[in-house]
């Protein structure tokens, strides 16, 4: 088996790398292929919390790298999907506990075991980031429609471009977009962001209160079947990663007020 190694990164912190990793991972696994989620944020371990697996962590990535345990022992099987596995980060160590060569070796091994290897990179562009992208073949860059996030994403894309030989493609997810603010020109639109970054768009995820709820519960949104805005967006992203053509969500329709909903109910053609 030769899986695809995809790194989820952003440069800026707090834009939703870990949330995206968890959701995409779960959505990918739900559609069949085997998935490994790798938390590379050593010292600030979070992915296990979002996945609701923190109480199952026994060994971690650093233990594997230091050969204190076998890779199989460190992988935490998801409680919902047996084909989804998490390789947690170490919490009591720091980014220097591993190096790029060790990460390459690790991703090679994971590639042999899973269809998809999703690496959740830490914020920043220092050693943690360098380690995270060391073994990656594709990248997903997360960015919010804010100048600072776009600037950082641009920097990261530049760094990814410099590794063209290893990273064959990189695509963008615009996270936490608020259609009504875009409409009133208070927020950068998808087009504005794309104009600056000029990269291929993988998906647009609307701001959704449910993300906070699901984070606290340890149940990623994309896992539930009801049509929550963000959950649906992540499921679409997973499909696009698998090569399916999925139209982008009509965010305007989602941001409907009760009034437009009523109008739509009586006259679907108008909205």
């Amino acid at each position: 088996m030769t899986g695809r190694v995809i790194v989820v990164t952003s440069g800026k912190g707090g834009v939703g790398k870990t949330t995206a990793s968890a959701n995409i991972g779960l959505a990918l696994a739900a559609s069949g292929p085997s998935v490994a989620l790798v938390d590379m944020d050593i010292g600030l371990r979070n992915l296990d919390i979002l996945m609701g697996l923190e109480n199952r962590v026994v060994y971690n990535l650093v233990d594997v790298v230091e050969e204190k345990c076998k890779l199989r022992q460190a992988l935490v099987k998801d409680k919902r999907l047996p084909n989804l596995n998490l390789l947690p980060a170490a919490q009591t160590r720091d980014k220097t506990a591993v190096n790029a060569d060790q990460m390459k070796k690790l991703t090679e091994e994971l590639k042999g075991m899973f269809d998809y290897v999703l690496i959740d990179s830490p914020a920043g562009i220092e050693s943690g980031f360098q380690n995270a992208i060391a073994g990656a073949e594709e990248a997903v860059v997360i960015c919010t429609p804010e100048m600072s996030a776009v600037r950082d994403a641009d920097r990261v894309i530049g760094l990814l471009e410099a590794r063209k030989d290893e990273i064959s493609q990189y695509r963008l997810i615009i996270n936490r977009i608020r259609p009504h603010m875009v409409k009133s020109n208070d927020m950068m639109s998808v087009q504005d962001v794309l104009e600056i970054l000029s990269v291929k768009l993988l998906g647009v995820v609307p701001e959704d209160d449910q993300v906070i709820v699901s984070t606290n519960k340890g149940e990623p949104l994309s896992g539930s079947s009801d049509n929550q805005k963000a959950g649906q967006a992540y499921r679409n992203i997973a499909k696009r990663l698998q090569g399916e053509e999925v139209p982008f969500l009509n965010l305007d329709a989602m941001d409907a007020t009760w009034f437009t909903k009523v109008v739509k109910f009586f006259n679907p053609a108008r909205v």
């Binding site: 010292g43 371990r45 609701g52 923190e54 109480n55 199952r56 962590v57 026994v58 204190k68 409680k79 919490q91 009591t92 160590r93 720091d94 220097t96 506990a97 519960k217 340890g218 149940e219």
Partner: protein, 375 residues
């Protein structure tokens, strides 16, 4: 290079290293902020002081001596790299009529080598201290506290150096050196020496206020604990009495097999352990404070937490299945006793609320948690 380092070694006492300070004023500032633990803290401890390259006049030497004495520190040995300071030290010592002197090192510049009686001041050449000490050991000048050259210091250095914020000053024989810096995280240390190096010492507050990390070296906490007990401030926790009912396994009684002489059976820490902090001890562990999620505590003996346990606790780490974990508030993510692991129920099934002091122990091969008996 950090300004001050406290280097502690169970058998050989504590070395206070201020070689990073540029001036006397700076040295005093760091000494105050770091050493002012309590009036009795340093009493009776073997303390050495390393002045490093500081150049001091005899007056300044006496000044610093009175200064540390006020803090309760009475150095047994004073190290210095500067010949001027060494001369000042000799003068200061003569002045105070202490039976003190220098030990001539074969390696040092011989020019100012006076005849010396047993040690007070160890002279230093530009060579590393370990060289000097090794040479002294070879020369048989064992009056000096010649420390055995232990390899651990070096092996630790390699790993520790990888943690960006923990600086290793130099490898002192027998000492494992970790500087106080802004590093809150646990240093990367191979398992073999973990118990020796990790831990948070000195009760935390002073260091934190001064901008130092509380992570020092475990023996420091051991010393704190010993001191507290010696000062009668704290009673050493009494080993739990065996339970009245028959099925209950025998409680782990004090000294754990692997314990080295000189290692206290109980390590007591008075602070909250936060995410990413790791404490490891080869005896019983008592935490006065909370253990937050993400923190790890490991002990060969029992673990007692006077507070909430929300992180990971591993008792009986050397395979002692009679070890117990007890806490006032039991909300752990994971419990480990010897080789058994128990995890908390998943959050989706409702949050567990602790109902009072509870104890976890192995019953029939599995970890069971029960309300602590009033006894």
């Amino acid at each position: 290079m950090s300004k001050i380092a406290i280097i502690s070694q169970a058998e050989q006492g504590v070395l206070i290293d201020i070689s990073g300070c540029q001036s006397l004023a700076e040295a005093k500032q760091y000494l105050t902020s770091t050493l002012q633990v309590s009036s009795q803290f340093w009493e009776g401890l073997i303390v050495d002081l390393n002045l490093g390259p500081l150049v001091l006049t005899p007056e300044q030497v006496s000044e610093i001596q009175t200064f540390v004495a006020e803090l309760g520190v009475h150095p047994r040995q004073i190290f210095s790299l500067s010949p001027i300071t060494r001369a000042s030290l000799v003068q200061a010592l003569k002045a105070t009529e202490l039976e003190a002197a220098l030990t001539a090192s074969e390696l040092g510049p011989v020019a100012d080598a006076v005849e010396f009686s047993p040690t007070r001041v160890i002279r230093q050449s530009e060579q590393t201290r370990s060289d000097v000490l090794t040479a002294q050991a070879a020369a048989g000048t064992t009056d000096v506290a010649v420390m055995e050259v232990v390899n651990t210091a070096e092996s630790v250095t390699g790993t520790l150096a990888s943690c960006s914020q923990v600086e290793i000053e130099e490898s002192l024989p027998g000492f494992t050196v970790v500087s106080f810096s802004e590093c809150k995280a646990e240093a990367a240390v191979p398992n073999a020496v973990r118990a020796e190096v990790l831990g948070t010492g000195f009760g935390g507050n002073q260091q934190t206020e001064a901008g130092f990390a509380v992570n020092s070296i475990l023996p420091a906490s051991k010393i704190l604990q010993t001191r507290l007990i010696a000062a009668g401030i704290e009673q050493p926790p009494v080993p739990p009495k065996p339970a009245p009912e028959a099925p209950k396994p025998k409680l782990a009684q004090a000294p754990v097999a692997s314990q080295k002489p000189g290692t206290p059976a109980v390590l007591m820490m008075k602070q909250t352990l936060r995410s990413g902090q790791h404490v490891s001890h080869k005896g019983h562990l008592v935490i006065i404070g909370d253990v937050n999620p993400g923190a790890e505590i490991v002990a060969d003996g029992d673990i007692t937490i006077w507070g909430a346990l929300r992180g990971m606790a591993h008792a009986g780490a050397n395979g002692n299945t009679n070890a117990e974990i007890r806490a006032l508030k039991f909300e752990p993510l994971q419990l480990r006793i010897a080789n058994a692991i128990a995890r908390s129920p998943d959050r989706s099934k409702g949050h567990i609320v602790s109902s009072g002091p509870e104890t976890a122990r192995i019953v029939e091969g599995k970890i069971r948690i029960a309300a602590s008996d009033p006894e």
